[in-house]
Amino acid sequence: MKQLAVILSGLLLALPAAAADYVALPGGSFSSVLPADGKVAPARIAPFRLRIEPVTNAEFLAFTQKRPEWQRDRVPALFADAGYLSQWAGNDALGAAISPSQPVTRVSWFAAEAYCESEQARLPTWYEWEYAAAADGQRADARKDPAWRERVLVWYSRPSNAPLPEIGGPADVHGVRDLNGVVWEWVDDFNALLVGSDSRDQDGADKFKFCGAGALNMQEKENYATLMRVAMLSSLKASNTTTNLGFRCAKSD
């Protein structure tokens, strides 16, 4: 009997405190601000599942307790800069100023990736994120609606020293929350968004690095709000952390 209790408690401990919820998104052909071929080709997005809400302070704290190598005084500088989790009161405590149900921010790409791995997940790709964020309450792609654009831009104009909202905004048509309006989010391929097309159309050897502007499609003004996000992500290194940058995870179906 005692043995059974031990086994049972072992099983219970092995379960995550509160398993994160994911919803299925159908994917399909999607007209991205970053054409798949650098010209006009739509992105092809395979069906995937996305975390309904961004990862919170409480969830990330639980992760660092299980994986102490990601605590802020232990993490190598290579994987997270000096600002990593610096808003928390301590290495192992959020403190009174931080709400457990605010999205965690000041996390590096490496830390976000490691967290998602702990949920048997990964970071979404840019295309997956952009596709999901195009939805509103009624439509999978609301980007043509000025109200959609307005909402995104109004959020951008909020001062960055304002306290972060808590998660739990209205669900969109897929059942996903808080994609626009709470925090910016890491994507898996954040550092590859502006790489030009194999440099094949360039001549001098010095230009082999890449030419970013060529990869952008500025034809539609709806793209502007989204391109700001591309520009922000592209300016980051994988070890960087910022006050407004959090993440959520995704899973391939």
């Binding site: 071929d37 990736e113 790489v195 194999d198 690095k209």
Partner: protein
């Protein structure tokens, strides 16, 4: 008896070296596994102890990647003997779906990239992305199977620190070569 002591020291001394903590900026802190053109799988950190030139590529790339290989060869040749034999070269594919061990092996043979100096390696998609982030190499798949990618050569010292990088491809970068030579002659 003396021989035993020497042996013992060899064992202990090398063990001591292996347990010296890595520098804080060593890429060998990344716990990923790579598989080379011979099909052997090893942790990235097993490259410790070698000065090496590193770049990322994919074997079906016809335009820039062959020039990356050429530039690696040029840079290696620019180092005088006997230091030249201590330059290791590591090419990591960012196309694990198509660059199998067999494909990497064929590529090495076709381009005369001989082991053990040359290592062509692949990793699973997630570690590949982590490695690229660490090395500062950018890539994105295109619908036709090609990749958008940045082209860079990196120099790693024996401890896995990135000591220099160059985006000069297709010809020698004299400044980069200088750092390679200096790193090889460091005590």
């Amino acid at each position: 008896m003396k021989r035993l002591l020497v042996l013992l020291c060899l064992v202990l001394c090398s063990a001591a070296q292996a347990t010296t903590p890595l520098p804080r900026d060593s890429i060998y802190q990344l716990d990923v596994k790579l598989t080379d053109q011979a099909g052997k799988t090893w942790p990235l950190a097993s490259r410790r102890g070698h000065v090496q030139l590193v770049s990322m590529f994919y074997s079906s790339c016809t335009m820039v990647c062959p020039m990356i290989v050429d530039t690696l060869k040029l840079t290696q040749k620019a180092v005088d003997e006997p230091d030249r034999d201590r330059v290791d070269l590591l090419l990591i594919s960012f196309d694990p779906a198509r660059d199998s061990v067999a494909v990497l092996n064929q590529y090495a043979e076709r381009r005369k990239l001989e082991a053990p100096r040359w290592t062509l390696a692949r990793a699973e998609p997630a570690p590949t992305r982590q490695l690229a982030a660490l090395l500062g190499v950018q890539y994105r798949p295109l619908p036709d199977g090609d990749f958008n990618h940045s082209s860079e050569l990196l120099l790693l010292d024996e401890e896995g620190r990135i000591v220099a990088r160059t985006t000069v491809i297709g010809r020698l970068d004299p400044e980069f070569v200088q750092v390679v030579k200096k790193t090889l002659s460091a005590p």
